[in-house]
Every structure is written in structure tokens, then in C-alpha cells.
């Protein structure tokens, strides 16, 4: 107990010093970057010392502590990621715990030790937890040789989304998988849409022709001067109203002869 208290008292001045030394009154980002190694160094020493004391006190506590450490890693990463301007408060939080660990004995002290160990350990482990996501970005950044701000990150996410949608479109448009190059893929897509729209137009014309026959089935016999107009079976689309009417009636009567309402029943 005595050596542990001595030992845990030993780094105290340094920890107390840390906020004064480690946090310059400059910009928060610089302040964050600077105290990193120092804090980790301090934490390292602290952590190792605390570990030794804890193992002295209770050897069976390792698992719990490890678990707590792993559980608190998220917190620690959060702390670190948000601690650009909060270094002072962090160290202030740290301070009372270590004070406690020095002043109190027994279980309370153990817990305090553990928590301070967590703190120190988290400081110690600070670099690793946020690194996996950051490493990814850093990797891409390094490859691009630029893109350190959030704009470029968003831009990259957007580009990925675009390429993903391009892939979906390529799967949709037949014969588009063999095409290489974005411009030609877009060409294929445009051609396909145009073809589909033209097809809709063509089919609506066809449907119009078929539908008018169907219509006669619904309405029954027009029975108006069809005998005179039956010769008018030119299939040209007449835009004038008068010939169009004639054509329509002529074809109507024809269609009544051919199929009486069969198509109508099938459709409706």
C-alpha cells in the first residue's frame, strides 16, 4: 500500500503540470495536436505505474478492468475526437480521480485506481481507437494527394454514390454492361429511354387504331352513310377533321363486320 500510494503520488505533479504545460493558449487544433504525445507519454508512465499497483493489490481484477477498458474505448475516442478545446476540462476531470486514488484506500481506492487507469489508459490508447476510421480517410487522402477537408470527403461519398447508381443503370439497360466509359454508358441510357418513349408513342397510336375498333363494339352500329365511305380505307393519319371522321366511321363499320365485341370483352 505504501509504495502504491508513493508511486501514485509520484506522477501527480506531472499530471498537475500537464494542463499548464500541454495546453498552450493557442488555437484548439494545434493545442490538441501538441499535447498528444506528451499526454500519451504521461499516461503511459502513469498507466504502467498504476497497473503495477493494481496487480499488486488484486491479480484477479484484470479481466474486469480489461472489459471496462474496452467498453470505455468508445468514450475515450469520443473524448479525444471532441477534445480539441476541452483539454483543460479533461485534465480537470482526471485530476480529482487521481487525487482520490492517492487519498483513499481499499475498494474505493481500487475503483479510483481503475478509473484513473482507464483515464490514463485511454489517454494511452488514444491514438488507436480513432485510427481505424481515420486511417481509411488518411489512406484515401494520401492516394489523392489532397482532400483534407470535409468538402472533399462529401464529394468522394457523392462520387461513390454516383458510380453505384451507374452500375444499377447499367444492369437495367440491356447491352450496357459491355460498354466501357461513362459517356458511352450515358449514351446507351439515353438511347434506351428515347427508344422506350418512341415505343410508347407508337403503341399509343396503335392502341388508338385498335381502340377505335373496340369503341365501335361498345357503341354499336353507327349506321350512318357507311356504304359511301367503306372504300376510304387508307390508313394514313388524316389531320383534317373531315377526312378523319370519314375514315373513322368507315373503319368502324368494317370492324363491326369482322369482330363484334370480342376484343372489347377481352379487354374489359
Amino acid at each position: 500500500m505504501d509504495p502504491s500510494s508513493l508511486v501514485s503520488q509520484a506522477p501527480l505533479p506531472e499530471v498537475w503540470q500537464f494542463p499548464m504545460v500541454g495546453v498552450p493558449p493557442g488555437g484548439p487544433r494545434v493545442g490538441r495536436m501538441k499535447p498528444g504525445p506528451e499526454a500519451s507519454a504521461v499516461g503511459n508512465r502513469d498507466g504502467s505505474l498504476d497497473e503495477s499497483t493494481v496487480t499488486e493489490q488484486s491479480g484477479g481484477n484484470w479481466g474486469r478492468r480489461k472489459r471496462r477498458d474496452s467498453a470505455s474505448e468508445d468514450e475515450s475516442s469520443k473524448l479525444v475526437s471532441t477534445s480539441s478545446g476541452n483539454d483543460l476540462t479533461d485534465s480537470e476531470v482526471k485530476r480529482p480521480k487521481i487525487m482520490k486514488s492517492t487519498n483513499e484506500m481499499g475498494n474505493l481506492k481500487m475503483e479510483a485506481e481503475a478509473s484513473s487507469g482507464i483515464c490514463n489508459k485511454t489517454v494511452d490508447q488514444n491514438p488507436p481507437p480513432p485510427e481505424p476510421p481515420k486511417q481509411d480517410y488518411i489512406h484515401v487522402r494520401a492516394r489523392r494527394g489532397q482532400a483534407t477537408d470535409s468538402h472533399s470527403l462529401a464529394e468522394r461519398a457523392r462520387r461513390e454514390k454516383i458510380s453505384e447508381r451507374m452500375k444499377i443503370l447499367q444492369d437495367l439497360v440491356p447491352g450496357c454492361n459491355k460498354v466501357i466509359g461513362k459517356a458511352s454508358v450515358l449514351d446507351e441510357i439515353i438511347n434506351y429511354i428515347q427508344a422506350l418513349q418512341r415505343q410508347v408513342e407508337f403503341l399509343s397510336m396503335k392502341l388508338e387504331a385498335v381502340n377505335s375498333r373496340m369503341n365501335t363494339g361498345i357503341e354499336g352500329f353507327p349506321a350512318k352513310d357507311f356504304g359511301a365511305q367503306t372504300y376510304d380505307t387508307t390508313s394514313s393519319l388524316a389531320f383534317n377533321t373531315q377526312p378523319a371522321r370519314e375514315y373513322g366511321q368507315g373503319s368502324a363499320t368494317e370492324w363491326l363486320h369482322m369482330q363484334v365485341g370480342g376484343a372489347f370483352e377481352r379487354v374489359t
Partner: protein
């Protein structure tokens, strides 16, 4: 669903539209095809909303007096096409093809294009089936 809308619209066109003009009839059928497609796609899609708006505008143009509609519609035509950076030049052609594409960013344009192609091709299949079932 689309088939139901479309067939109902077809019979409606049969009843209401005079047989005088083939062009008008075929155009109405085409509009019915697009409208049923857009209704089936629902309001959550940008292209279907734009399509329905366009069709409504056209029908308003057809039915109401021209002076009033012109006064209403004129401001819409003034929407300028702003230049977009970081896009292939082909995107503009795609924008013109996909309804409502002028107001989309490139990412959602591709998304809407995919959905539009799906709906359009299914609509074409439906119309082919209707034509086949009637004329056979």
C-alpha cells in the same frame, strides 16, 4: 395497378373523346399511358411528380382559355438552365429526357432515371399486351 388505370383511361377516352381527330386521340392515349405510369410510381418519385404536373398543365392548356393559362405558364418557361460542373456533358440530354430532370442534382438524376426506365419499360410491355389482346 398501372394496367387498371390505363384501361380505365382508355375506355374513358373512347367515350369522351370525339373520333374526329386521330391525332388528339392518340395523344390522349399517350398521356394516359404516362399518367397511369406516374400514378403507379406514386408521389414519392421526383419524375412522377414532374410528369403529372406537366400533364396537368397540358390538360389545363387544352381546356381553359389560352390567355389565362399563358399568364400562368409564362413564368415557368423562364427557368434558366444553369451550368453544372463535374458532370459529363451527356447529363444534360438525360435531364431533358427524364421528366423533372432539370431540377435534380446529378446523383438523384441517376436514381430517378433508373426508376423511370423500369416504369417505362413495364408500361411498354403493358401496352404491347393490350394491343396484342385487342387485335388478336
Amino acid at each position: 395497378m398501372s394496367a387498371f388505370h390505363f384501361l380505365r383511361a382508355l375506355s374513358q377516352i373512347n367515350k369522351t373523346t370525339p373520333k374526329s381527330s386521330l391525332l388528339l386521340r392518340s395523344r390522349r392515349i399517350r398521356h394516359a399511358a404516362y399518367a397511369s405510369m406516374a400514378y403507379t410510381a406514386g408521389r414519392s418519385r421526383l419524375w412522377s411528380r414532374a410528369l403529372l404536373r406537366r400533364l396537368q398543365r397540358r390538360s389545363r392548356l387544352r381546356y381553359f382559355s389560352s390567355q389565362r393559362t399563358r399568364a400562368v405558364i409564362a413564368p415557368r418557361r423562364l427557368k434558366a438552365v444553369r451550368p453544372r460542373s463535374g458532370e459529363p456533358s451527356r447529363a444534360e440530354a438525360l435531364r431533358r429526357l427524364v421528366p423533372g430532370g432539370a431540377g435534380m442534382d446529378y446523383c438523384s438524376l441517376l436514381d430517378e432515371t433508373a426508376h423511370y426506365i423500369q416504369c417505362l419499360s413495364s408500361q411498354v410491355q403493358l401496352m404491347q399486351k393490350v394491343v396484342g389482346s385487342i387485335s388478336s
